[in-house]
Amino acid sequence: MLTGSIVHQLEAAHRNGKRPIRFGVYYKNTLVSLCHALEDCILTSSSSPILIAAFQQGKWYLQEAERYAELANKARQVVIMAAADTGWQDHPTSQMANVDLVSLDPTDPVAQEWHLMILSPTYTAMVLCQELSPAAYGSAGYPQDDLERKFYGLWTFEPDLVKETVELAIAQIGKYNPELQQTLTAQVQALIAEASSSPQDDLGEIVCRVVDYLQANEHDLERGEEDTSESSHPQALERNLVSNEIQAYLRMAQLMDMADATNPMAAAEVVALAETIGQLLDLPAWQIKRLRLAGLLHRLEPWHGVDRVLAGAEQAPSCPLVPEVQVLRRMPQLRAVAQILTHQTEYWDGSGQPAGLSGELIPLESRILGLAADFQQRLAHHRSTGTQENPAICAAQALAECQAQAGERWDPKLVDTLALLAIGVQQGLSLPVTPAKVTGAIWLLDFSTESAGKTGSSSETSITYG
């Protein structure tokens, strides 16, 4: 990381904090699609953002200048940072009243960075990256194809992190244009005041757009489109795109956890519980992997709302398609996971939703996940309401509550397995609760086509206990 770069400043500010910044690797190919998606969300957003972008060189901005005119029509302020290139000031977009160009000194570390920061009362997102130095490519050598240039950094929807980074950028801008710094500071203050009273844009829709744009890029790669045909490593580029598609969902799930002050570790704990239950049942490795991914995503709003959406439905003849559930099905690799999540609210006695499945007709992974999530939620509740000085009592209480619903809501044999696990925990067994590494999450998707095809229908997943 270049000292004094914005990526470096943000990393340094969080290095010894509760949540150190974690970085991922992005090909330029991925960044183009990702930024287009996040930028285009501005056009459908219900509010007007401040948009700060860093383009390394003026020529990269000029490639996007037409699009930026459209964005500037919606934004309250657009700032473009780049090392000056001839003619970049003259483009009509550069002349717009709310567009300011900041000509970076070519020796400024920020001139090696690619940033997109969007801060509005209803929508926040950013991509924050630094280009890999030519020497760091090692024996692989510097890429021939421009789209294979590598960057490292992060992207996120986290409002606090975006706001913090915008402030770092504004300070950087102040070194070149103190007047613009003042204007931006005042605009951010006004915007924050608005934000507290504005309902947020639907993150689900935003994530869908990100996935759509990355997938469109993937299809271009597969077809060997003109501008990508020179790529000598289409598989590496494709993998990076798929990795970021799954990251989009994981980041959405992460925000759910962060927004829940009394249960911020739900995803990591449910994954540990579900995986341990899977191991006690001696499930095969591919099924446990799928269970882990389902656990990481189990809290996503769409599924959280399944009960509510269907509360009004009189009958559930087969499995009704809850529109929100379809979000995950955009990725073929995630269809099996979507099915697991859909049925985690079924009841063992058939009185649950969304399909009223009963007994072993409920996919096994859905049964495990539903129970693990309910147990974890009860555990977190007891921990947050005073008895936390004795975790064993919390676990015993949560278990007793789950046991009371065995045979009615839960698979009785799974409740027995959970009881075994709870006893183990009381006796000092520690579950490996590790917060997910969001970048590089691609490993989660490496199901063989065959095992991915095993969509968890009852006949294939019913297992013998013993």
Binding site: M1, S139, Y152, G440, I442, S448, S451
Partner: protein, 212 residues
Amino acid sequence: MNLEEIRSGKLKQLPGANLEDEDLSNLTLKGVNFAGANLVGVNFCQSNLERARLDGANLMGAQLVGADLRANLAGANLMQADLTGADLRGANLRGANLMAAKLREVSFAGAFLSGANLMNVNLQGADFRGAELRGANLTGANLTGADMTRSDLQGALLSEANLEEADLRGANLAGANLTGANLLCAELEDANLEGVNIAGACLAGTSVEEQV
């Protein structure tokens, strides 16, 4: 050799047997003793070999797709074998030779791989959680995005290995050779880096970038 007796599960003691190129796919072969057997090119696809003895066996070019290999494979020769989707959790692979093996979607969680030869093997995204890899040869291996949390890589050979975005939280890398390795954005929180040789490695985006 009576193959039907093996397939039906009657014959379980086959140490040193010659089963070259035989079809033993989709079978339950739990606990069968194939120690030191000639299993070159054998087809074990989707077979259950849990707790089987395959130590010292020659499985060169064997077909092991989707097989349950939670077995003893110590010193086995798995060169060019196809292990796609095989279950190797907790397997004993000490000193095994896995060069040029196909290892997509393999799980090595908790496996014992000390002294194993994994040179130049493609292990993208592989699950090595808690695996024991002391002194294993992973020179030039592709471990992009691999999950190696809490694994023991003491003295492992990882020069020129690709560990981009790999998760090495809590891993023991003491004395490992990482010269020229690519650790771009690898997670190294709580990893033991004592005496590690990291000359010429790419450490951009890692927590130790500024300390080394």
